[in-house]
Symmetry: C2
Subunit: 457 residues, 2 copies
Amino acid sequence: MDHARNKLVELNKIEEKLKSLVEEKRYKEAMTLISVLNEVDIAELIDELDHKTGAIIYRMLPKDIQAEVFSYLGSDQQEEIIRSSTDVELVQILDEMYMDDMVDMIGEVEPDLVDRILKSSTAEDRKLINQFLKYPEDSAGALMTVEYVSLRRAMTVREAIDYIKAEGIDKKTIYILYVTDSSRHLEGIVSLRELLVSDYDKKIEELMNPDVIYLNTLDEAEEVTATFKKYGFEAIPVVDREGIIVGIITIDDILNLMEEMASADFQKMSAITPSEKPYLETSAFELAKNRIVWLLVLMVSATVTQKIINGYEDLIGSVAFLSGFIPMLMGAGGNSGSQSSILVIRGLATGDIITRDWLKVIWKEMKVSIICGIILAMVNYFKIIYFDKAPSTVALTVSLTVMGAVAVAKVLGGILPIAATKLKMDPAIMASPLITTIADASTLLIYFALASSIIGF
Amino acid sequence: MDHARNKLVELNKIEEKLKSLVEEKRYKEAMTLISVLNEVDIAELIDELDHKTGAIIYRMLPKDIQAEVFSYLGSDQQEEIIRSSTDVELVQILDEMYMDDMVDMIGEVEPDLVDRILKSSTAEDRKLINQFLKYPEDSAGALMTVEYVSLRRAMTVREAIDYIKAEGIDKKTIYILYVTDSSRHLEGIVSLRELLVSDYDKKIEELMNPDVIYLNTLDEAEEVTATFKKYGFEAIPVVDREGIIVGIITIDDILNLMEEMASADFQKMSAITPSEKPYLETSAFELAKNRIVWLLVLMVSATVTQKIINGYEDLIGSVAFLSGFIPMLMGAGGNSGSQSSILVIRGLATGDIITRDWLKVIWKEMKVSIICGIILAMVNYFKIIYFDKAPSTVALTVSLTVMGAVAVAKVLGGILPIAATKLKMDPAIMASPLITTIADASTLLIYFALASSIIGF
């Protein structure tokens, strides 16, 4: 092993070399170059080629790694390979795939290929696929796979290990084993580690842990990731309403799910309709579609601030200097509010905050706004007096407005996401843009009220 | 197994029951109640009690689960237990802990306890702890643990399995095994699954995969999580500059790391100094400290918009109606810009976008702004004419400004995070607040320039 290599640089070099070998149709050398790599890396390299060439390289791979490489390919390249496969080849590919990868693929390829895939699957797989496709997106049922090892409580450790050796080869994990009765009710779990270090004549029922942590098929993505984060298990079984084990979810699939969920939250918080497609693969039209709705809503809701300002036109007309502070005041309020809302939304997502904590959150945000408000107001007061050389009545008006704006925005920012959760809405939509609009209106009302009374218009 | 139970509700019920049993000092019954639970749940329940009572319950737990429960306890409860332990008890606790958990704990407890912990550790552990504490936070070196199983290439499968049975009991994983030479250079890896299904007389070197995916001690958190996400491995070895294996990182620790990293990004994007402490455990003073710096920066930078508006005081004074549109225009620009920046920042974080793509991003954002800009301008034009009943010159000025504001903000929002990455800065700080400030200034300049020429002041 060359310990000084940098993995990324190395892969980039191999990619260049592979492309030039392929151009010169030196496929055998190309094969020697990539076949020593990890399956994930081989798939990544094939995805970088044009689909036709990718399919040629794929077909030349050793049979024993083809199946795994196939699962890691992008859906476009998978389509190309399926289209150029005979029915016999397709059966071979599908036979080697895990059920969760197959369901993922079916969700992404063109409808005509779905038909061909279903026709080439065994009757049993076809039934399973149809059942899996019925579960809501990202629910435990949609995320699970069926390739797990189940044992019986009456087996000895020796019998269990022999069974794992014989049956474990296509299973997604053999390290956690599920003990079931004859009607597949989940009775307990046991790890391969426990079997290995035990007396081989012991019965499984003596070793198994009957207090199983499990998920239900309809548990949502949040519940699934929270359970994995809490326990750190490698795999968690999924049971139906009758307590029958229907599949398992493995931790490697959770990493991608967590990333997708975080991305969706980021998008919702910045007023974008969430989309799982990578940015560069999304068309400008689709990107615009995901963004325009909220932009329109926010534009129309800004009518409120417009009307407030219009109501004070005479004041602005005579003390035009005042309007110069409007952007700063609205910025201070908006930013303060989004700081609070993001922390609370994030706390709700990670479970650090629950709705019961609403009074604590208000109280904390009030204290924070007093500290931040006083500091901002003071800096602002001296800036207006010494830098803008404005009268102290203006400085006082603006500074007091800053304090009020920060307080209103922070308390709103803290409480609205909790209120949304309580009303079974997604707290992430309560993020910056919406709170900014409400904070903007309050800030302006405070500003003009103070200006009228202090500057004495 | 009771399949109809809801795990959360059940744990809440046990918590109430435990508290009432503890109040009545019925400790034995309390023990019967919780000792059947998973160690993670037991730790969670103990954390809910006051620290003194928690320590009592902890001491009554069966010895074989104490160690694991201890690792999952909050650092306050860990402190209380260590403080009330004899030196002998402390040695027992430390002896059972994984190195990564020990290093985590040392990072969180009071300094006087760190001394006691180090004194109660073996000389070898002490040396390791000191070495681990030197790695940068969240680097591979700081995340790894040392409890892995290493094999030699000349071993037979039978010898290897016997060795794992004997030595594997305290190892963090026995499912991935590391093949090293006599000076601990990493030569290959092999999984327990491969050993189990192989001929027991085969040599390890025939089975091992010499193309090991590994991390270096100084690899940063982003590299660590990206490697786990890409390959989905259960554990990845960490080697030093000489290619010597110094530890392994397991996937269960990556879930928490990913969540921390996402939280830090959320905080940076909303102009907050990132902090890992849960919201409710952070004092108001500390929360204010994390937020005030950016609020001050943004307040001072709003001087730019203020000066622009001041420069057009005469215009505003005579057409005061115009100032009513300022919040809406700035909102449209600010929201458009943060939509783009968040998508690009997120794309950079997940690897979907690399700095080389900057031209593609600009081009895409330009197309998106044309679509969004035209729709917003049209809606706006008709709203001003028919709803505000303002003259068409005003409607035209405002609508053209919207288009310009959206275009400037979206292109800036798309390109600034990439520029930051190129300059080796964190792209997340280029999020909404900073971009909003620049977009605000451009919006106002466009607005007043158009107003002067169209309304003909």
